[in-house]
């Protein structure tokens, strides 16, 4: 299990580095973040205490040195204190994120899993039927892969929501709006999630198809596949043996993909006015809401790290060779 311990160590270090980057954001950007915040909060009453809190948070008018502020930032983090959001009416950042996170997790989670499964299965099929018309699907998928996520989102809205009116084109329920769980609510969520999810699946599925197909074609030429074939095993069984081995690079490539998918999902959220983290992040940037921006960036980074860690665990579980190496 030394492999896993090493990976966990790496992710812990990466997490520390990510927190440090997060700490540095308001400190390295040009201009005074406090002024920017105040410029965007005209009309709101800012108490002395709030001002003080903001000063401490951005380190603009603080007597403690940078190192002291850094430690303070960590202690705040340990207490689950991410500051207050100036653009969302001075509510704690954690509240805003807690409202947006389920939306993003639901959308990105479902879409990623769906596109991985569908893409991998299609990749197996295309590799198995190589030399047939299915090979022509590959160049076609690159088009969807190369097209920006939000362009596909535009097309989807134009076609399905406006022209055919199958789906609502308005925005989903608000960020802080968490009604009781009942059928109307669930169907509302589903109605608003299908189109964005479809966009993400179409856009990110192509990568899985090409990756799986290429490895599968290589694996199908391995001697053990020929052996399985020669033994007269049913075709389905042979494909299963080949696919099981071919899927490993796809899973290790998950680390690379998840970042892209999350990035793409953030864009998709913005086009669909979907009240998730991407939407919140863009708002925070536009409103110069540093605390919220730091919080969202931190949560996204941690989520990506966790997904990577999970993929690593699955990989070690699936591939015995990684266990022997240690």
């Amino acid at each position: 299990m030394r492999t896993l311990a090493r990976r966990i160590g790496f992710y812990l270090l990466t997490a520390v580095a990510a927190v440090t980057v997060d700490f540095l954001i308001p400190r390295v950007i040009p201009g005074n973040p406090l002024d920017a915040v105040l410029a965007h909060t005209q009309g709101q009453v800012i108490t002395k205490a709030t001002l003080r809190a903001l000063e401490v948070q951005f380190g603009t008018h603080s007597k403690t040195g940078q190192w002291g502020q850094y430690l303070h930032y960590w202690s705040n983090l340990a207490h689950g204190n991410l500051g207050v959001s100036t653009s969302e009416g001075m509510v704690p950042v954690t509240t805003v994120i807690r409202g947006a996170l389920p939306w993003t997790l639901g959308l990105v989670g479902t879409a990623t899993v769906l596109s991985f499964i569908l893409g991998t299965l299609l990749g197996i099929l295309i590799a198995w039927r190589r030399g047939t018309w299915l090979d022509n699907l590959l160049p076609a998928t690159t088009f969807f892969q190369a097209a920006p996520y939000f362009f596909l989102a535009f097309l989807a809205i134009d076609l399905f929501a406006i022209k055919l009116a199958w789906f609502p084109s308005g925005s989903a329920r608000g960020i802080l709006d968490f009604p009781a769980v009942n059928w109307t609510y669930i169907s509302d969520v589903l109605d608003h999630a299908i189109l964005p999810a479809l966009t993400i699946v179409v856009a990110s599925g192509a990568g899985w198809i090409v990756g799986m197909r290429n490895v599968m074609v290589t694996t199908m030429d391995e001697d053990y596949v020929l052996m399985a074939q020669a033994k007269g095993l049913p075709k389905r069984r042979v494909i299963w043996y080949a696919a099981r081995n071919a899927i490993l690079p796809s899973i290790s490539g998950f680390s690379l993909a998840i970042g892209f998918v999350v990035s793409g999902a953030l864009l998709t959220e913005i086009v669909f006015s979907y009240p998730g983290l991407g939407f919140v992040l863009l708002n925070a940037v536009q409103e110069a809401d540093y605390a919220l921006l730091q919080g969202v960036f931190l949560v996204i980074t941690m989520a990506v790290l966790l997904a990577n860690l999970a993929a690593d665990f699955v990989y070690v579980f699936l591939d015995p060779r990684t266990r022997q190496e240690a």
Partner: protein
């Protein structure tokens, strides 16, 4: 492909340990072999068109892309004879914007690709060649950048660059490159690790070559396909990322780019109101530019890993090669390839793969289809066909 530097020493790994082609006398043939695939040809042609548009686009644009044609009309006008792709909400000519916006998009993407590739070569090859602590530290750096979600970071950075100098193509490309080099570095490091202990590198070291010379003249030439692939991949990443950032309005909106056009389309509510001419042209342009890069990358993939190409013997292609009577569906574990007469005659032995002859036999005077288990045999055969045995 750089040829000749490691010629004599680079013995052919017939066991298929390396996925890279062996640089030998067949090199000249290999270089010509690359553009032969229709995918690569189409990709190269498309890319050439985009590069030409990037250079001359702003000059051949019929109007100034920022010029407003009417102060009274408040809705985007559909395509007409005067404005082939219609006008925007501000009554600007969409075609002119499309032509003018190409330059910035292509420039940013290529700057990003170039800088990121240089970074990934320096870091990846150094890590792979140096090993030990250097390797550990550099690998960790690459992995850190790999798992860091790039777009949120870029959104944050550009959110604050915008006010300062968000319209500067070179700067944008540079910032995108910083988030995009890690993947290439990781792939290059892995391949360098496997090249480092090859005999010819070992001999160069024993002869007393300096480290930089071994890297520059023995290792780098053999990494060329991977470097090219990683360059195209990063350019593709640059196109997507720049378009996304411009679409979010984080780049100076007076600086025309395809992403910026999509930004204005979103502002005008184009997808809700059916103003398709606002988002279809720039979207298709970005998608096609990306497709052209991906198609070339397909070709490089097939070049690096010939099994991907050998596998694609369709029935039509087999017929064209004069082979008939192929089985309806190939058995798993067996790859059909067309063997040219020349090679077959020189080789002489019909059944050098475990598969044996295809049913139906060779058609006279054309080619023969061999069903061979392609675990290495087909590949080395193909590479050496040029006479380098």
């Amino acid at each position: 492909m750089a040829i000749g530097t490691s010629t004599g020493l680079g013995s052919a790994p017939a066991d298929g340990a390396s996925l890279l082609p062996v640089p030998d006398a067949a090199g000249r043939r290999m270089r010509l072999q690359l553009p032969r695939s229709p995918k690569v040809l189409i990709g190269l042609a498309m890319l050439a068109v985009f590069l030409i548009v990037a250079v001359i686009g702003p000059w051949i644009a019929p109007y100034n892309p920022s010029r407003s044609f009417s102060a009274t009309a408040s809705f985007p006008q559909a395509p007409s004879a005067a404005h082939w792709l219609g006008t925007t909400q501000q009554q600007q000519d969409v075609l002119s914007q499309l032509l003018a916006g190409g330059r910035s998009t292509v420039l940013v993407a290529f700057v990003a690709g170039l800088v990121a590739t240089v970074l990934s070569i320096v870091i990846g090859v150094t890590a792979g060649y140096a090993g030990r602590l250097t390797d550990d530290l550099l690998s960790m750096l690459a992995n850190f950048f790999l798992v860091l979600p790039a777009l949120p970071l870029l959104i944050v950075i550009f959110g604050f660059l915008k006010t300062a100098q968000g319209g500067h193509d070179l700067l944008i490309g540079l910032v995108i490159a910083i988030t995009g080099w890690a993947w290439g570095a990781r792939v290059l490091r892995a391949q360098t690790l496997s090249l480092r202990n090859r005999d010819y590198v070992e001999s160069a070291r024993i002869v007393g070559e300096r480290g930089w010379r071994i890297i520059g003249f023995e290792i780098l030439p053999n990494l060329t396909p991977i470097v090219a692939s990683s360059f195209l991949f990063t350019v593709l990443y640059g196109v997507g990322t720049y378009t996304a950032l411009a679409f979010l309005g984080l780049v100076n909106p007076n600086h025309w780019s395809w992403g910026g056009m999509l930004f204005y389309a979103q502002v005008a509510g184009a997808e809700q109101s059916g103003y398709w001419w606002l988002f279809i042209p720039p979207g298709i342009a970005v998608a096609l530019l990306g497709t052209s890069l991906a198609l070339i990358n397909f070709g490089i993939d097939e070049f690096i890993n010939p099994r991907l190409r050998v596998a694609g013997l369709s029935r039509r292609r087999a017929r064209r090669a004069g082979v008939s009577g192929l089985p309806k569906r190939f058995v798993l574990g067996v790859t059909p390839v067309v063997r040219q007469d020349l090679a077959a005659a020189a080789d002489g032995t019909p059944g050098w793969g475990p598969g044996g002859r295809a049913p139906g036999g060779p058609a006279p005077g054309a080619g023969s289809a061999d069903l061979i288990s392609a675990s290495g045999h087909a590949k080395s055969r193909r590479w050496r066909r040029g006479g380098g045995q």
